[in-house]
């Protein structure tokens, strides 16, 4: 049961129309490839902040941060705090990002060619796109699930909802590239922020801070406030997230794309320091909604919703279900428009980002001489369209198991571990060379891919305290092999450490005379 009415539908419809019109209108300013990919490097600080904030907050972010609040209490927000600290530090000091921006590169692999050669550039591009697309692969499905639960849509319309979302976003991204993305991000930032603030005040007023704190204390004890004492978190969780967040600040292409689109490195760094605190908001606000859902919704109800989607863990749906119950008609339209705004800005930026790496780095060896601007823009548009088609099919086929943030961390680690290692070494270690780079890329990709594959194809029965197999709804409860025996946090930590070792050992193994 939900309060989504025709009034809400009209609000959503008007918002979508305004966004589409704005996104399409700026296409007339696109006449060069650098206009399409980096908005001609004319982005200034405040547009950069709005765009970065909007890009990095989508429905998926809302869902996994709320899931973190629901399953871990306030401790679930730790990744946001670490992200903010990392971003502020990097922006303030210019660590890695100053040399990167000053190099004039459009993408990180382009910088790597200057130091490690063409093959490393190409391999980096492949790994970035692999990790990025797998990471993004769940966005569409999760976005569709949010809409189905929040708006009370029939489940059979999930695929249609996914397709409509994607087509809308693809149209203006294909036509206007980064310019459309920036302008629509700006609009989406305003709508998204207004919606989030209004809903947060509503949630805090409706549920009350005391009730939320009590729910966390009851369910998770002190561990719900302090991750170091939480049974399933601890130092491994904090360290794993520290690695991930430092690496993503340095090399997550959508973040870096804002830096590279800035007028100069000083502006880019100001965008970083100016946006840093937003990353705490990004985790705290939906986290509060998740904690409120924990306080108000029975676990059995949450489980039932999960089963409707064919997923073992229903905690991802607690927040949208909770919002569907408490947000009144009229405001529901604002909320859905806000979430659509968040999702569209994320999807458009991500499609363009991975598309730019494919065009700029993977296809670079096939361009023996520079292409005419028109051909370059056409290729970029086709790549974005193909990415959209991939997202549709992956989103329809892949069923998420367990925690969404951990899936995103593992797929992100396919490239975060190696790219951050290569970037740091490129900027600050003279001895780093292509042998170390290739070793780091291979190790950095192989471990998370192995973990994902083991989790997908090898299932282990989960046992209770007495050693008996747990059965639910007549079926054995199972877990992926790597997750069961190693745990996602240790896989992530191990990947970063092994990648660093591979870079050092590989670089030192190469004879100096052939550098």
């Amino acid at each position: 049961m939900t309060n989504f009415t025709w009034i809400d539908g009209s609000i959503v419809g008007m918002y979508l129309l305004a966004t589409m019109i704005a996104g399409i209108m700026v296409r007339k300013y696109v006449s060069r490839v650098d206009h399409f990919l980096v908005a001609g490097r004319e982005m200034n600080v405040f547009l950069g902040i709005a765009s970065l904030a909007a890009t990095e907050f989508g429905i998926v972010t809302c869902m996994y941060t709320a899931q973190a609040g629901y399953t871990r209490g306030f401790s679930g927000s730790i990744p946001g705090i670490l992200n903010a600290l990392a971003m502020f530090f990097v922006g303030w000091t210019g660590f890695c990002v100053k040399p990167l921006r000053d190099s004039g590169a459009i993408t990180i692999p382009e910088l790597f060619e200057q130091r490690y050669g063409k093959f490393v550039r190409w391999l980096s591009g492949v790994v970035i796109v692999l990790g990025g697309l797998l990471n993004m692969g769940v966005f569409l499905r999760v976005g569709g699930q949010f809409l189905v639960v929040c708006c009370g849509m029939n489940l059979k319309y999930l695929e249609i909802a996914m397709t409509v979302l994607l087509v809308g976003v693809a149209v203006y991204t294909i036509m206007g590239g980064m310019l459309s993305v920036l302008v629509t991000d700006f609009l989406q930032f305003i709508v998204m922020s207004a919606g989030m603030l209004v809903v947060s005040v509503l949630v805090l007023s409706y549920v009350g801070w005391d009730r939320m704190v009590d729910a966390v204390e009851t369910n998770y004890g002190e561990g719900g406030f302090n991750p170091f004492v939480a049974q399933d978190l601890g130092w491994a969780f904090v360290l794993s997230n520290l690695f991930t967040n430092v690496a993503s600040v340095l090399t997550w292409q959508t973040c870096i794309a804002r830096l590279l689109a800035a007028k100069d490195s000083k502006t880019g760094r100001r965008v970083y320091t100016g946006t840093a605190f937003f990353f705490i908001c990004r985790w705290i606000i939906p986290g509060l909604w998740g904690i409120a859902a924990l306080a108000m919704i029975e676990p059995a109800v949450v489980e039932t919703i999960g089963l409707q989607f064919g997923e073992k863990d229903g905690s991802l749906f607690a927040m949208p279900f909770f919002l569907a119950q408490i947000v009144p008609a009229g405001m529901m339209g604002v909320l859905v428009a806000a979430m659509l705004a968040a999702d569209m800005s994320t999807d458009s930026s991500y499609m363009l980002t991975w598309g730019s790496v494919i065009y700029n780095d993977i296809l670079a060896p096939f361009r023996r001489k520079p292409w005419p601007e028109k051909r370059g823009i056409l290729w970029n548009r086709c790549i974005v369209a193909l990415i959209g088609i991939f997202l549709l099919f992956w989103g329809l086929w892949y069923k998420l198991e367990g925690n969404l943030w951990e899936y995103l961390q593992t797929t992100g680690a396919i490239y975060l571990a190696s790219m951050s290692t290569l970037l740091i070494a490129c900027c600050y270690w003279k001895r780093a060379n292509n042998w170390g780079a290739i070793a780091a890329i291979i190790v950095g990709a192989a471990l998370p891919v192995l973990s994902l594959s083991l989790n997908l194809f090898v299932q282990v029965p989960v046992l209770d305290e007495t050693g008996a197999q747990i059965v639910k709804e007549g079926k054995l409860v199972t877990q992926g092999l790597a997750k069961y025996y190693v745990g996602d946090n240790f896989v992530n930590i191990g990947t970063f450490l092994a990648t660093g070792v591979a870079m050092i050992v590989g670089s030192l193994l190469k004879p100096r005379t052939s550098n």
């Binding site: 700026v26 206009h35 405040f46 709005a50 920036l182 005040v201 705490i280």
Partner: protein, 61 residues
């Protein structure tokens, strides 16, 4: 929603939550105003560049 109650119980998370709400609402307004100027200037510069490149192309031909 009682801000004082939020600061009594688990003050770190209460203070952080209040800071988030205050910061986010202030920044939204500020970035909205300044960002709209940035868009205007960005599109003007791109338009000038587009005009210059068309002039160069017609001069060359």
């Amino acid at each position: 929603m009682n801000p004082l109650a939020m600061l009594n119980d688990h003050p770190f998370w209460g203070l952080l939550t209040l800071a988030v709400l205050v910061w986010y609402s202030s920044v939204t307004v500020y970035v909205a105003i300044r960002g709209s100027w940035d868009i205007k200037h960005m599109l003007r510069r791109l338009s000038d560049q587009h005009g210059n490149s068309q002039e160069s192309a017609s001069d060359a031909s």
